[in-house]
Amino acid sequence: MFRLQSPILLDRPKLTVYCMRTVHSEIIVNLRIDMTSSIPAYRQIVDGLRVLLVSGQLKSDTALPSVRRMALDLGVHFNTVAEAYRSLADEGWLDLKHGRSALVIERTTPPTDNQKLQDLAQQFRSLAAQMRAHGVPVNRIRTELLAVAEEILS
């Protein structure tokens, strides 16, 4: 029986893009998007899958659901999912071949590019600024960022 996990909002809203839990000693990995969010669905899918890929919850040789299946389950257009898969394939995470499920592949981490690093750091600052603007205390921001880093690295 398919065991779909209903969304349970975690305390940390930025971490609601995915969840992993164990049912009958079987690990179930879900991708979750928020259609009421101002972030486009395409971006949420890419970001959510990347988190799962970086943290190793989606290992190499794992077949992702087909574009049609994922679009049906998320209630988004087929092109949205296809575009998200292509974006991740361009980053080197997925192998897309016609008539076959998207396959997670072993990815060699590219060397750190200074320009890219600056761009990402800028995004980090922007995110921290947003949290401050929403009234999140500095200590809480520090805790959240550390928790995210630890979660990804573990």
Binding site: F2, S6, L9, I28, D34, L72, L74
Partner: protein, 335 residues
Amino acid sequence: MKATFLVVQVFPLFVTAVLLYFLPHFTSRGVFFGATVDRNFPESLEGKKLTYSYRFEVVIWTIPGLLLAFLASVKSPGLTATPIFLLVLLTAFSYYRRFRTIHLRFGKRVRDIRDVQLLPATYGAFSAAWITAIPFLCLLFVAIYLQLRWNDIPQSFPVHYGADGLPNRWAQRTPGSVFAPVFFGFYMNVFMLALAWLNQHWARRSSMQQLTVRCLQWITWPLSGMFALIALSPVLPIPIWVMVIVVLGGIIAIVAWMIWKYASLTDEEESAPQPDNLWKAGSFYYAPDDPALFVGKRTGLGMTMNFGNRWSWVVMVGVCLAAGLPVVIAVLLSR
């Protein structure tokens, strides 16, 4: 006359009224009269008041239904379905009024969160081939049996019975009339399995979707049983009540199983309520950007179509045509 009136007019009306009376109970948690609410709202004073007033109106609407049923039975027996239609229409109005009140005064804003399961990758509900195969095999065996006992089939046999239980239409022994029930059985099985396939492959996955697919697969059992018994009736004396028990008993058992499974779903297994703006009048899912043809019903068991998706309409027209085809064939054969 009295017995016919009770069986044909009053009993279906009574069953419909009871179902409508308990309709507010058949709903997802956090949804009340089709509106998203706090989970505890139905048990609150306001919630109970709304339920009681709705139920009172259902009882009131049943009275003109009964009167119309009486008039229909006396004046024009062809109007059998009209009282039920009237009751459903008036109750829909009552239901919609409660939805508006709750949505505007007590509605809860929720985030529209969607999930997709990535791992494990196997989730086959349609893979139970034996559930699908046995009804077809049953009909196939009946066809073979009829062929073997062809000479034992009477030259003329009853094919239709009135409400009094007596045959009122007869058919001659021809391959068309003898094997027609088997053919219709096959046809209905294929129809149900096509619906199950559509629900499996073109609907959003959820526990309710899986239950619906399973039920559509199981429903082929009583249907095949009924058509098998009808087909066998010219050679084996099978009372009408046996057929009724097979069909009604089977369907009731399947629906009861579905309700039991639905009631035993945990909070985690049940899909979270979606925002009201996706549900017109609290009951009709309308999402043009959603490719799903079917989604879990908001107000109870089963699946509903996505009225915003044009392909859902194409499928609906196809389903109506496919469902109407046996009736047309039956009418043509009876002439």
